[in-house]
Subunit: 348 residues, 2 copies
């Protein structure tokens, strides 16, 4: 993991200013002489910069190893891939667990509320620092897709291709509701609440069908009910495990900030309409949704595509046929791989 440090202040959407900030990032592949083969990868809420390399702290493999590497759809033999940890995260970039230079203590909840636009502006400083003018592509799923959309709008001349997966111009009503409940759980009880928020999250990241196929109503140990409140159903055990694992690896305040940034993301509110938002864009878009994703329903992705078509922008839309729900974009998928590989084409 590398770190980019900016001593320049960053003005945020809220009007507040971060006096300085750091962005953690990793790179894979080699930047070519004309600096025209750089791809920026944007991660989702719980992600980090380790897109395709081992995280030495957690010993987890990269979260998008399936997609990025030599000969893979995002081919590091051809592309120089930059994976940046977002502003506000707890994985190396400046966020609530960082030291406030003004107080020398940790920010915690005194960290300013940030937006997806703030994350993108901080990433843009990293790209400046890497001396790259134009990104060949920006790619992201979920919160990463929001960043990708924002990149194409805020920096229209710096993005040649934008791949937006399982994302939307704004969280839909139900998804916004779940987001607020997750924050409420953390606000009332940071530790247990973070676990509960993550359990809710994991239900929303999967489809009813995929929970059914993997867990159904299976009991963990015994054939019959135990008539007690101990963990019995396999799905219960799985969700509790996910909740506890998350508490051990993630900061509760960071969850609040990133969740709030997602709740705030709203291209229609910010720009008046999707057409106004996309009007300056010059990127070619690939918008992809997942058929069983109910957190970011396909309908919302189609709305993105329709607005771009209305503006005569270049856009491809594809609904990935998968029963696994929102998290499908992190799983093995020939459709997803082929679409990304073909859309990126060859830089050689």
């Amino acid at each position: 993991m590398k770190k980019f440090s900016s001593d320049q202040p960053l003005t945020l959407s809220s009007g507040k200013t971060l006096p300085s900030f750091k962005i953690a990032y990793d790179t894979y592949g080699t930047l070519n002489a004309t600096k025209s083969n750089a791809i920026l990868i944007c991660h989702a809420l719980s992600g980090d910069s380790h897109a395709t390399n081992l995280n030495s702290e957690t010993e987890n493999p990269g979260w998008w190893q399936l997609m990025i590497g030599p000969g893979k759809p995002i081919d590091t033999d051809q592309f120089f891939v930059i994976s940046s940890n977002v502003l506000g995260s707890c994985y190396g970039s400046t966020g609530p667990i960082s030291t406030n230079p003004e107080t020398q203590g940790p920010y915690h909840l005194s960290f300013p509320v940030i937006t997806i636009e703030d994350m993108v502006n901080a990433q843009a400083k990293l790209i400046d620092y890497l001396d790259i003018t134009t990104l060949f592509a920006v790619i992201g799923g979920s919160m990463g897709g929001m960043q990708t959309l924002q990149w194409s709008i805020s920096h229209p001349n710096r993005v040649k291709k934008a791949i937006v997966i399982a994302a939307a111009a704004q969280l839909g009503p139900q998804s916004l509701a779940f987001n607020t409940v997750g924050r409420e759980a953390v606000l009332t009880d940071p530790k247990h609440g973070l676990s509960i928020a993550r359990m809710i999250g994991h239900i929303t990241y999967r489809s009813d069908e995929s929970i059914g196929t993997k867990f159904g109503r299976k009991l963990q140990e015994n054939a019959d009910y135990g008539y007690a409140f101990s963990t019995e159903f396999e799905i219960e055990s799985y969700l509790k495990y996910q909740g506890e694992k998350f508490v051990n690896r993630f900061d509760a305040n960071t969850y609040l900030y990133l969740s709030k940034a997602m709740s705030y993301f709203d291209l229609i509110k910010t720009y008046g309409s999707l057409e106004s938002a996309f009007s300056p864009c010059t990127a070619q878009f690939l918008i992809m949704s997942i058929s069983s994703d109910w957190l970011y329903p396909s309908k919302q992705s189609r709305e993105l595509a329709k607005s771009l078509i209305k503006l005569n922008k270049t856009v491809s839309y594809c609904e990935i046929d998968s029963p696994h729900g929102h998290d499908s974009f992190l799983m093995e998928s020939d459709q997803l791989s082929t679409m990304i590989r073909c859309f990126l084409g060859s830089k050689s």
Copy 2:
């Protein structure tokens, strides 16, 4: 509110025994001379016996006033309507807040885990006590629908008509998952957890569309974001209000018991198959689902109806067309009212 007290022990599904128990109930209308016009109403998780009369404690109107009363679909001019509070509830029946006669202290979590079958067996004792052999109808939605199904199976000769609304033979995978998270929230933090569980519940009781229509992404007070973690979105405020209201009116342990009873309810596991479960039934069935209900999807109601058809039982199935999700059965609905009125017919 009336109370039925049984000094006879009640053997539970778990094999444990309640030495004695009370069931709170209300009645509306008059039992006819042949005792053939009695209808039992079964309530959902948070319900009580006050189906159509003011609850003097909470000052809430009856939870199914729309449906029960003189001239209404469940017509108290014709029928003698019994609304019983379930075993395990905190609204007058024996449950976790009751005094354990053996210790003279409250049961709390020493109350035995109960099932829908246990609730129905306790209700049957109440019906015995009222000297009613056969119920003209048993009617319930959600957890009340589970009780209705169980009544038709456990007491096949005592139920002439069964109206099962927005229920299923078992919670589906996603609904079971949400149920386990609600309990986990309460188990880790009874007070805040109960509020969080209720907030999750309220999302699942509505559809994405109905949350969108009523709340969407509207902000509570200001036109612009406040860049703070205070309550901002209307949906956030609504859910918090519902959570807090529930904490003030409901017992956290009771939530655990009733939620567990719903998770345990599984006609397929208990009887081997739906066909085996329904085989002894003599009731005429009206199965109704709600088009936008994703907690008890229509698919599951159709499975109930198909099994009954396979067995040559008398069954009508109707999908109520409503955008309001699971809770539609508590709302004004001409379709629902008409179906219930016609199915019950006239006893005069």
